[in-house]
């Protein structure tokens, strides 16, 4: 922080940044909270199958679990590699 900022009482509001980061991470962790125990294993198995055919980057995988009425909808978004022009595989399963 520059001396001028200091004189003018301008400070970076770090608490605001902390609040935004927390909002995002808590929302994500709440989605995973209600996930069934087998979810990580299922995710791993699906990824292994997909990886047999397509080079994928594990970092880019998004798993989403949502409730829709009586159903739980599991969504696995796998961005394909660059040469596949960023298409996305979408595996949606419905389980009671």
């Amino acid at each position: 922080m520059s001396f001028l900022d200091y004189l003018l009482g301008r400070r970076r509001n770090t608490a605001e940044i902390a609040r935004e980061r927390l909002q995002i991470i808590l929302a994500r962790e709440h989605t995973n909270r209600n996930a069934p125990d087998y979810l990580p294993a299922l995710q791993q198995d699906i990824l292994e199958v997909v990886a047999k055919y397509i080079p994928i980057d594990l970092q880019d995988i998004r798993v989403n679990l949502e409730r829709e009425g009586d159903y739980e909808v599991l969504e696995l978004n796998i961005p394909l590699s660059d040469d596949a022009r960023g298409t996305t595989i979408r595996a949606t399963t419905r389980a009671r």
């Binding site: 400070r11 608490a15 902390a18 927390l22 909002q23 808590l26 962790e29 909270r33």
Partner: protein, 271 residues
């Protein structure tokens, strides 16, 4: 029936033991027979904070293993009537607490010894020890510092409370959680350097039972082995008294949550 209250946080060092000692003492001061149980197996500390370390003979694990009777292990407070402490053991084996054992001890505390409140001082973490401490709880005081990691860990503990407590497993009314923000520094909040009370409350979404300011008297109290609530001149002590009153249904406005007008000079040079 006694009420079982767990003091929990997930994150370590946020003020659970400080809170357990003062909260327990506050309930006892108001005439309720109260026991504070140290669940931090292997790291007994509540005895020091409550100033009764030299009178510990048997501990929680001895009672569970039936090597001692509950009466022999309970330490009665010398200053505060109606206040008792059940020390943790110093054993390294953390698996010594069993649900059956804890259940039996709690049952005896309520039915035979007539305790009204059982306050459980949880260890840090979300592993077995912390889960055991919260398992039997009716209500939970979630101790949170206005700091990013503490808020996240409190949120995780709330998830465990609502899914893995006895109340959850047996389909009873859920455990009632209360937010206790500790080590709060209104000056830094005003400077935009510390999460505000409102933000922490909004992020965790549970009712607030109090705010304990960052205060030097807490260290002094622990040096002396006196729960800080007994220090009526300290802000932290007064804030803990308010917490106990609110817990018992009294209406107490929050205190020490805004800056005392700091001088311009101090703002310029200071802190």
């Amino acid at each position: 029936m006694a009420k079982i209250i767990v003091v929990t946080s997930g994150k370590g060092g946020v003020g659970k033991t400080t809170t357990s000692a003062s909260f327990g003492a506050g309930l006892a001061l108001r005439g309720h027979k109260t026991v504070v149980v140290d669940f931090d197996i292997g790291l007994r500390n509540l005895d020091l904070i409550m100033g009764c370390e030299r009178r510990v003979v048997y501990d929680f694990v001895n009672v569970i293993n039936k090597d001692a009777r509950l009466n022999q292990a309970l330490v009665r407070d010398k200053r505060v009537e109606h206040l008792y402490m059940l020390p943790a053991s110093q054993t390294r084996d953390k698996d010594v607490l069993t649900r059956e054992g804890v259940d039996r001890v709690f049952h005896e505390l309520q039915q035979e010894l007539g305790f009204e409140y059982i306050v459980c001082d949880s260890p840090a973490g979300i592993e077995k020890g912390a889960r055991m401490a919260l398992y039997f709880a009716d209500e939970a005081i979630v101790v949170t510092n206005p700091e990013i990691a503490s808020v996240r860990d409190s949120d995780r503990i709330l998830g465990i409370l609502s899914a893995n407590s006895r109340r959850a497993e047996e389909g009873m009314e859920p455990v009632k959680p209360y937010l206790l923000v500790t080590r709060y520094n209104p000056d830094r909040v005003e400077q935009g350097e510390m999460l505000s009370l409102e933000t922490v409350k909004e992020l965790l979404g549970i009712p607030l039972i109090g705010v304990i300011p960052e205060s030097e008297s807490v260290l002094n109290a622990s040096n002396l082995g006196t729960p800080v609530i007994l220090d009526e001149k300290s802000k932290a002590g007064v804030a803990y008294s308010d917490v106990v009153d609110r817990f018992l249904g009294e209406n107490r406005p929050l205190r020490f949550i805004s800056t005392e007008r700091t001088s311009l000079l101090r703002r310029f040079f200071g802190g």
